[in-house]
């Protein structure tokens, strides 16, 4: 009998493998309800991937500080500086966790590691805002969102820097859309999306609609969620922005309506009441010119 070349056997095996693969791959994709859109992390790590999400978000903060970051042995930062501007807080200027060196080894070691508190948004280690850019944190926000799609901070922080600093409103919008697909009707994400439309695309009509949807979803939440400080801050921001928009188009009664909502959740209701009174005075004043109605 004629001996078959090993190359032919190999070719036959490859053909058999390919045929089997075409049969099994479509079926395997549907096992456990998985579709082809499921990402690689979900396939590889399952639900366990959520454990890594916070760590990846912290990596974003580490990059934001150009590597100058406390370890588990140092005093920990409770708030992430990278998230401060996105949450409406001023950037933290402190955070010098090292203190004076305890011995000569530590003193020498400090020359070989990042040793100054800097922010990428203000130039990073070089202090040159052109050379260092905050875009370096974005992979970590994206990966954090992939790992835990329910971690809202990843979307809000990522979209904030994309919109406010990197001037990429389309990418910010797409990232927030991704967040909304995973967290339908989330008021924080809708608020941020409204800001992208308002400040990034200058599309006030769409911003108004998105913020109104955000407010509706906030109001539809349970009482527990509404009493949460962070949640009340979101409501305040949405309503305040809606009030400003309505005021800018001359609809004072609607603006007052939104300010009444702000008053309910604001830590300074007296200040809001003052704004309401001013708007009421404006509304009562005789109209000298035609206001553009929306």
């Amino acid at each position: 009998m004629r001996k078959i070349s090993p190359y032919w056997s190999l070719l036959l095996l490859l053909a058999a493998c390919f045929t089997l693969a075409t049969l099994f791959v479509p079926r395997a994709a549907n096992w456990n309800g998985q579709s082809q859109s499921d990402d690689a992390f979900k396939l590889l790590l399952g639900e366990g991937r959520r454990l890594f999400a916070n760590q990846l978000f912290v990596m974003g903060d580490v990059y934001f500080h150009s590597g100058y970051y406390p370890s588990m042995f140092d005093n920990q930062e409770t708030d992430k500086d990278v998230a401060d501007p996105a949450h409406g807080k001023a950037e933290d200027k402190g955070g010098d966790f090292l203190g004076p060196p305890k011995d000569w080894i530590e003193a020498l070691n400090r020359h070989f590691v990042p040793n100054r508190h800097t922010h990428l948004s203000s130039g990073g280690a070089t202090g040159n805002a052109k050379a260092a850019s905050v875009e370096e944190i974005l992979p970590w926000m994206k990966l954090s969102a992939e790992m835990n799609p329910q971690m809202i901070d990843s979307y809000t922080v990522g979209s904030y820097w994309l919109r406010a600093v990197l001037n990429k409103p389309a990418d910010a919008r797409d990232f927030l859309f991704e967040g909304l697909r995973n967290n339908p009707g989330n008021p924080q994400l809708l608020f941020d999306l409204g800001r992208v439309y308002d400040e990034g695309f200058h599309d006030t009509n769409r911003a108004l609609n998105v913020w109104q949807a955000g407010l509706r979803h906030w109001q539809a939440q349970g009482e527990d969620a509404k009493t949460n400080t962070q949640s009340q801050f979101v409501c305040e921001e949405i309503s305040m922005n809606l009030a400003h928009l309505e005021e800018s188009v001359g609809d004072f009664s609607n603006a007052v309506h939104y300010l009444e909502i702000v008053k309910q959740v604001s830590p300074d209701p007296k200040g809001i009441q003052k704004q309401i009174d001013e708007l009421n005075q404006k509304a009562a004043a005789p109209v000298s010119t035609n206001n553009p109605a929306h």
Partner: protein
């Protein structure tokens, strides 16, 4: 000295005869290129995560190559019984230790040059920036660190039974020093006596390999470390290399080389 260089030459040849280095280099290259090919938010200038990942892989690969190579030098000479004809020549045991050390150290240096060349090409083409001096400084510091690790591994291979146990123990010690070494003084403060003194003693005894790790500075564009500080670190490293080599020589000098 010629004898030492001749012995070192044989060890260097081993680097390119064995597959360890090639496998680790290809693995590093594939993972780095795969990571670099991912684009986040249509931005091709994002590079720090690639640098971070590539340097981490370089550190792991270089440590694996160095420890594995240094751990098998003396035991393989004993097992193959080539140590006897070697020592029958006008070669002292001290020269064997020194030759093996120099060979392993130079071989790890060659491996590092290849790794850093790849690193420079990958990151340079992406960020259009070539801080060559920073790369050279990082390479030199890492090479000094590998010198300490090589000497430590040779010492381990004299006293430990098999190369596998030497590799495992040395790798664990090195990883422990790199992760915890710089924090031991903080841990000591938070403990009571006598544990505090024990931890402090360990803190001052161990070679602080993390001194030679400038990855975070390189990734985040912190610029060059003062060369005087590098010189101090190099002297510190040289001290530990000499100490470990001396201990290895003392152990090897009285060692029974026959294999049962």
């Amino acid at each position: 000295m010629n004898t030492v260089f001749a012995l070192a030459g044989i060890v260097i040849k081993e680097l390119y005869r064995r597959k360890d280095f090639y496998v680790l280099f290809v693995l590093t290259a594939v993972i780095t290129i795969a990571a670099a090919s991912v684009q986040f938010f249509h931005d091709s200038h994002i590079v720090r995560y690639v640098k971070d990942l590539c340097l981490l892989l370089i550190w792991i690969s270089a440590l694996l190559v160095t420890i594995a190579m240094a751990a098998r030098q003396i035991p393989s000479e004993r097992e193959n019984r080539t140590i006897f004809p070697l020592l029958a020549k006008p070669v002292t045991r001290g020269q064997v230790i020194l030759g093996k050390f120099l060979g392993c150290w130079l071989a790890s240096g060659i491996a590092l040059v290849v790794f850093y060349l790849f690193f420079a090409i990958v990151t340079g083409t992406r960020e259009q920036n070539w801080p060559v001096l920073n790369y050279i400084q990082a390479l030199l510091l890492q090479w000094i660190m590998l010198g300490i690790v090589t000497a430590m591994t040779l010492l381990g291979s004299i006293f430990l039974a098999a190369p596998s146990s030497t590799v495992t123990i040395v790798f664990t010690i090195v990883a422990g020093i790199l992760f915890l070494g710089r924090h031991l003084n903080v841990v000591a403060i938070h403990n009571t006596e006598p544990l505090r003194d024990i931890i402090y003693t360990i803190y001052f005894l161990i070679p602080h390999l993390e001194l030679f790790d400038v990855r975070e500075r390189l990734v985040n564009d912190w610029g060059l470390v003062n060369w005087l500080d590098c010189l101090l670190a190099a002297l510190y490293g040289a001290g530990y290399m000499m100490l470990f080599l001396l201990l290895a020589w003392l152990g090897f000098r009285r060692k029974n080389l026959s294999v049962s």
